[in-house]
């Protein structure tokens, strides 16, 4: 059998979502950002809402999310994406509006913006990429960095005396009346990715039902920041991140 005999429409098992552009991603191999982008693009495609979706990209490694998901985007200042999303959704209520934010962006510099947007129950979707580190600036400590974890600004490991304990922002968000769906997922395996995709889809569907804010945390790998190979990163994540950030729904109403 030759190659041309195999490459036939009836043999096709997978195709890239047309909502993903053809640009080569700048993410490190093994990084979770690319996988989550793909899932979002597939949800947008399957729901048929490309013309109605507006993304707000953060400051962090995913600042360039707009290069990969083929929709209209606004690029926000560090941490401010929920404020942009608030106005966009209120002024254009027929649109699906989502923010895509890292843990530095959402849980540190943008804490006020995310808490208040969620508390007001803005009908937006929040995708929260928690890799427990500042990927973009070269691996500094994040509010979500684990106890004892070494980063460039906690070179001897995170200690409680110096830095306090990791901020469980998602648990906090789940307490807020304005949120309708708060879940924590991951993308280290095909099975986990499928669950995350279902969560993202549900979040987008909620926003059309005006139920309040839907918040999807994705516990993610930053193998460059963690200084591990992609495979080791996933193992390390399951072993060390999941006990602190357990996978599953925190709220669904």
């Amino acid at each position: 059998m030759e190659l041309k005999d195999i490459i036939k429409p009836e043999n096709k098992v997978y195709s890239k979502s047309p909502v993903l552009t053809n640009k080569v991603m700048h993410y490190c191999p093994g990084c979770s950002h690319g996988t989550v982008h793909k899932l979002i693009a597939e949800v947008i495609e399957e729901m048929g809402i490309q013309e109605k979706t507006i993304g707000i990209s953060p400051v962090g490694c995913s600042v360039f999310a707009y290069n990969y998901i083929d929709i209209d985007w606004q690029q926000a200042a560090h941490g401010r994406a929920p404020a942009l999303a608030t106005a966009t959704k209120r002024l254009c209520p027929d649109k699906y509006v989502f923010t895509y934010q890292g843990d530095g962006d959402l849980a540190s510099i943008g804490t006020a913006e995310i808490i208040h947007a969620c508390n007001r129950g803005e009908n937006i979707v929040v995708i929260f990429i928690n890799n427990a580190i500042y990927g973009m600036t070269g691996g500094q400590m994040a509010p979500t960095t684990l106890m004892g974890m070494k980063t460039s600004t906690s070179p001897y490991g995170r200690t409680e005396e110096l830095h306090g304990k990791p901020l469980k922002i998602t648990e906090l968000i789940a307490q807020l009346e304005g949120t309708c769906y708060v879940t924590r997922q991951s993308v280290q395996s095909a099975a986990a990715s499928r669950k995350t995709k279902r969560a993202i889809r549900k979040a987008f569907e909620n926003s059309a039902l005006n139920k309040g804010t839907s918040f999807v945390e994705v516990v993610s790998a930053c193998n460059s920041g963690w200084k591990l190979t992609p495979v080791k990163s996933n193992e390390w994540m399951v072993e060390n991140m999941f006990p602190s950030y357990p996978i599953g729904d925190l709220k669904d109403r």
């Binding site: 404020a83 608030t86 106005a87």
Partner: protein, 359 residues
């Protein structure tokens, strides 16, 4: 027949926004401008024009809400006073960099720090010289009456969308708080979604198959691309300097001396001019209406006929630097200012003026 209403400058901002097709107001309370949001909340424009009004959690959020709204091609407005504007500087820089239109009102109080809630003009540098980071400018309009507070909302949106840039209305506590007769101009409806799609091809209105995606960003990591972006911004500022300088002259034709003053100080200095004229001194008043772009050329045009210029401000001397740049050492440039929220009387200004010219 024209309709007149007695209102505060701050109320005029709110009423004008509703009547001029503003789509959204986002703000955070601070004295001396809280009446803007209070008036909007009483008027409930969401039930009439559909205008959105939202109390944000901070000025940082307000200005970023403007970024979101402006990205959608909407007419968005915020107002605050000095400390709030300091928080907005990050957002203003991003809005300028992403070339987004909006109107920002600063009803200035005395600073630095928490300062005082009394009027001030100490935010001139912040408004006219950037404030936020990077090489950007905003059009800065300086109203001196409740009527101009009303009119500059509409003018501000015209200029913001002409240049795709933030426009600041730089008022002061006096202009914000004083009650005056205001003429209500004809109503302008809000733009429809179709109009926005047609007129603002850059807006995030949703990517349709007939066009490329729209991305509103100030980021450009490629040095050549980033330099081009900066040159584009600079060419807009050049255009503002040639097409949109606004000022008002009062008794300047035969003047030997002029006062340069804006906002409430221009109102006061009109009386100073009269005091001088009564004593036979040919004093005039130049009132910059746009602080940026500054009426540099008008000042240069007048220099040959003048013996001196005095800048009068509620600051330690900020606008005077732009006057000096314009005059370029050709004649004496004097300064008189009061601080701490103290507003000098026409007589006090006149005495200061006489002291300078008799030196």
């Amino acid at each position: 027949m024209a309709e007149f209403i007695l209102m505060k400058g701050n109320e005029a901002i709110a009423i004008s926004a509703i009547r001029n097709g503003c789509d959204g107001y986002f703000g955070y309370p601070i004295t001396p401008q809280s009446e803007v949001m209070e008036t909007l909340m009483v008027e409930r424009p969401w039930e009439t024009t559909g205008m959105v009004v939202l109390q944000a959690e901070s000025e940082t959020s307000s200005i970023n809400m403007l970024y979101g709204g402006a990205s959608c091609g909407k007419k968005v407005l915020t107002s605050s006073s000095s400390p709030g504007l300091s928080l907005m500087c990050e957002g203003l820089s991003y809005l300028a960099g992403a070339e987004l239109p909006c109107v920002v009102v600063n009803v200035v109080r005395g600073g630095p720090g928490l300062g005082t809630i009394q009027p001030g003009q100490g935010d001139y540098f912040q408004a006219c010289k950037g404030g936020g980071h990077g090489d950007y400018k905003m059009v800065v309009l300086a109203p001196n009456s409740a009527q101009e507070m009303y009119d500059f909302v509409d003018l501000g949106f015209d200029l913001a969308f002409k240049y795709l840039t933030p426009v600041m209305i730089l008022a002061d506590g006096v202009v914000g708080q004083m009650m005056e007769k205001v003429e209500l101009r004809p109503v302008k409806p809000r733009w429809s979604d179709e109009e926005i799609k047609k007129n603002f091809k850059w807006a995030t209105t949703g990517k349709t198959p007939d066009r490329e995606q729209n991305v509103l960003t100030s980021l450009a990591l490629d040095a050549a691309v980033h330099e081009r972006l900066n040159h584009k911004l600079q060419s807009k500022y050049k255009q503002m300097e040639t097409e949109d300088v606004r000022f008002e002259s009062y008794m300047c034709e035969d003047a030997d001396h002029i006062i340069v003053a804006y906002g409430c100080m221009a109102r006061i200095c009109e009386n100073t001019v009269e005091l001088a004229r009564n004593e036979g001194i040919k004093l005039g008043l130049l009132r910059p209406i746009t602080l940026y772009p500054f009426p540099t050329i008008e000042i240069q045009r007048m220099v040959p006929q003048l013996k001196s210029i005095m800048s009068v401000e509620l600051s330690a001397g900020q606008m005077v630097e732009d006057v000096r740049l314009a005059v370029n050492g050709k004649i004496p440039v004097n300064f008189f200012g009061r601080l701490g929220g103290i507003v000098p009387s026409p007589h006090e200004v006149y005495e200061a003026f006489k002291k300078e010219i008799n030196k």
